[in-house]
């Protein structure tokens, strides 16, 4: 079990919370502690909207250990509206033709469970956007 690690990452995992640099306004996901441009700490939590576009994707049929029960599944890289590029599993892609540039949105789903008596890890995935972008 890796309880402390997942617990530390829960805000990033559950709701895509990253950080932003107060001096240069750059935004980071996963969250960074130090801004690589300003070389300063003191970064603040930043809630990403979860909206973005699909930058690249692939389909996993030979899944790594612990993920075989959900295979086949798609993973992708998503360009968030606020800038960062995030790698993540994709959700609800069965029967959908994925394409580069398609609008996607973050959802919180079950990511992993090591065993039947262990904790369930929840985290972000991206799915094809349910509706056109909101105003």
């Amino acid at each position: 079990m890796e309880l402390p690690r997942y617990h530390r990452m829960r805000r990033a995992l559950y709701r895509l919370e990253g950080t932003s640099c107060p001096s240069c306004s750059r935004r980071f996901f996963p969250p960074r502690a130090v801004c690589p441009a300003c070389r300063k700490g003191g970064l603040e939590p930043f809630p990403f909207s979860g909206r973005g576009t699909l930058y690249s994707y692939t389909r996993i049929t030979q899944a790594p250990r612990g993920f075989a029960s959900v295979a086949p599944y798609a993973v992708g890289m998503v360009r968030l509206e606020e800038g960062p590029l995030v790698s993540a599993p994709l959700a609800d892609t069965d029967g959908i033709d994925l394409s580069i540039g398609m609008p996607v949105e973050m959802v919180t789903r079950r990511i992993h469970e090591a065993s039947e008596n262990g904790p369930i890890v929840y985290g972000y995935k991206f799915r094809p956007r349910l509706r056109p972008p909101r105003q």
Binding site: R10, R11, Y14, R15, E17, P47, S69, V70, P89, A91, D92, D94, G95, V107, T108, R109, R110, I111, I120, Y122, K125, L130, R131, R134, Q135
Partner: protein, 349 residues
Amino acid sequence: MRTARPAGIVGYGAYVPRPRVRASSIAAAWGREAAHLPVREKSVPGLDEDAVTMAIEAARGAVARSGVAPDRIRAVWVGSESKPYAVKPSGTIVAEAIGATPWVSAADLEFACKAGSEAMQAALAFVGSGMADYALGIGMDAAQSKPGDALELTAAAGGAAFLFGPAEEALAVVEATASYVTDTPDFFRRQHLHYPEHGHRFTGEPSYFAHSRAASRGLLEGLGRRPADYRWAVFHQPNPKFMRRVAADLGFTEEQIAAGAVVDRIGNTYSGASLLGLAAVLDTAREGDRIFFCSYGSGAGSDSFSFVATPRLAAARAAAPSVDDYLENRRAIGDYGEYLRLSRKIRML
């Protein structure tokens, strides 16, 4: 029952997972006749979904429609009979995911299919008593049913979340509520067992019908109203037949219940069923419309609510997907085998 200060629903959100299995596939696997099945298809959670992930999405819709900052929410209550953990609150995961932690109360409620309206009552009381400005009540289920049982034809997945707040910010104001409960063992699941048991015909007249009628009549009499005073009505919907019969018994028409009859399209979402119906009604109701709501949970009891839609409702809708958006977003499951896999009913020996 009335609150000390006026309160209402300031935001609502729904969720229905994408996979759908045809009732005829289930019937065929068990050698049942495909004629006269209660519903055409039902919703099934994806492999990466459970009551918590579905509650999170519904809660996000409720928060988005309200425009309330999540850290101002003082309670997150989740009603479900399909909690992913036997011991460990679901409410904390939902509260963390929507950004309501840490100054928030969180708990899970259980009352078979009435757990969701129980969470709504508690959230309403939190706001109505003045203890909090905002409280979230959710009803969500990935409904359990024994393979081969009649319930397997309808037990579905989905639900809705309602954020309660002060009446002046409400999309729908609560006029009054009533709760009617007796000890009636029509449906239950013992510890360590996977699937619930039900009392067959006993689940009808002495259970669903008696409690739904009593809670509904109690509220109507308390308010001095008749069914005709309402534009919309929502009842717990274990199947299309029960819902229509109780509505007719009470004097509500098909026109009043049609908008909230989600069971016709995806089956019975247990704790989520009546709440999903209410969300669907809020998707279409107009300013000034009166909405009658009555849940039912085995065990047994009903909670009834009387709402009035406000001028704020129409403008809030666009901030989250409608119930219909979720109903349209569907993928047909190939066969009964895939359904068993998705609903995690296959156990390795």
